[in-house]
């Protein structure tokens, strides 16, 4: 743990941030977030059962994943991203028409004050173990006709089986994607669609066979719908 803090401190110093603030925030994040979120892990060598036991998404690559502005805002006013939680099977109950979300089983994410949200976001954005995956990305954000994008997202690629591209439209086992563009870095979106297993060996997102062009079309659709969000 001491070694981890030293590494983080060195990274933050290089970025010009004050050391005491960093150490404090690292400890704060470890204490407040580490109970549910993995801040250090090696899923590749873990048994698959860990996926069923996750309480929250891993944050150890938050710096390769999130947009700072979104993170700061969300930490102050958290809203549910995964309608059925991070491991849906743990939050389901049998209903008359099939499985339904057991809302009572879903924990509410705590909110933090603005200054703490800023500090936490700054710290989380230093966690970048997957710079090589981001660097390998060729995605340049572009555009796509929304209608074509929706058809591609649903009918052609089947992403809507698990993800919502609008409130109440699409599957609920995956994270909603209508705010993905505000939430996630463009290179992460493209890289994760192309090869989610490289990011998380136990991901519940299938690694498909879409080529770069097809992946970029999906990312552009998320851009089109994401930019319409308030």
């Amino acid at each position: 743990m001491k070694h981890l803090f030293s590494l983080i401190a060195a990274a933050m110093l290089a970025a010009g941030a004050p050391l005491t603030a960093i150490a404090d925030t690292a400890g704060d994040v470890q204490q407040q977030c580490g109970t549910c979120h993995a801040l250090k892990h090696n899923y590749a060598t873990s048994a698959i059962q860990e996926r069923a036991e996750r309480k929250a998404p891993p944050l150890d690559y938050a710096g390769n994943k999130f947009q700072r502005a979104w993170l700061v805002s969300w930490l102050q006013n958290p809203v549910r991203i995964r309608p059925a939680g991070v491991f849906p099977s743990a939050h389901l109950k049998e209903g008359p028409d099939g499985d339904a979300i057991d809302a009572a089983s879903l924990a509410k994410h705590p909110a933090v004050p603005a200054a703490q949200a800023e500090a936490m976001a700054d710290y989380l954005l230093t966690l970048k173990p997957f710079d090589s995956l981001i660097k390998a990305e060729t995605y340049q954000p572009g555009t796509i006709a929304e209608r074509m994008g929706k058809m591609n997202f649903g009918k052609f690629k089947g992403c809507d089986g698990c993800h919502q591209d609008a409130s109440n439209s699409g599957g609920v086992s995956g994270p909603e994607l209508y705010t993905a563009w505000k939430r996630l870095q463009p290179a992460f979106i493209s890289s994760y669609i192309a090869n989610p297993v490289a990011w998380d060996p136990h991901t519940m997102m299938p690694k498909g066979d879409a080529n770069a062009d097809a992946v970029h079309k999906l990312a552009n659709y998320l851009k089109v719908i994401g930019e319409k969000q308030p």
Binding site: I48, G158, T203, P206
Partner: protein, 115 residues
């Protein structure tokens, strides 16, 4: 000696089959239940939003019409590979062949080993 060897072999095969069934159950719970349902009846939490309903894995007649090879192929390569829906993704990039065989064994248990 021959009989002893045969018994030992049968025991080993039984142990492997048992381990594979446990692995299959575990993988099914993680990767399949959100669409195919906690009971494997095709009524997963995503099903209500789907244009084509997920396969009911407890349907003995439907499932018996599919060979193990076909089930393996559709899990590995997705619905498109057997002219079915793209809503069934291919899991070959996530799961090993052994894992997929374990899932096929679990499907056989769901469909065809009812009490």
């Amino acid at each position: 000696m021959k009989r002893l060897l045969l018994s030992a072999s049968l025991l080993a095969i039984s142990a492997i089959a048992h381990a594979q069934a446990d692995r299959g159950t575990q993988l099914y719970n993680i990767y399949c239940t959100q669409c195919h349902g906690m009971q494997g009846n095709g009524k997963g939490v995503n099903a209500a939003q789907m244009s084509i309903q997920p396969r009911d894995h407890t349907d003995t007649k439907e499932m018996s019409a599919r060979s193990d090879d076909e089930l393996f192929k559709v899990i590995q390569q997705g619905g498109k590979s057997i002219n079915k829906s793209v809503l069934m993704p291919g899991w070959g990039g996530n799961l090993s062949d052994d894992d997929i065989h374990a899932l096929v064994a679990h499907l056989r248990k769901l469909c065809c080993q009812k009490n």
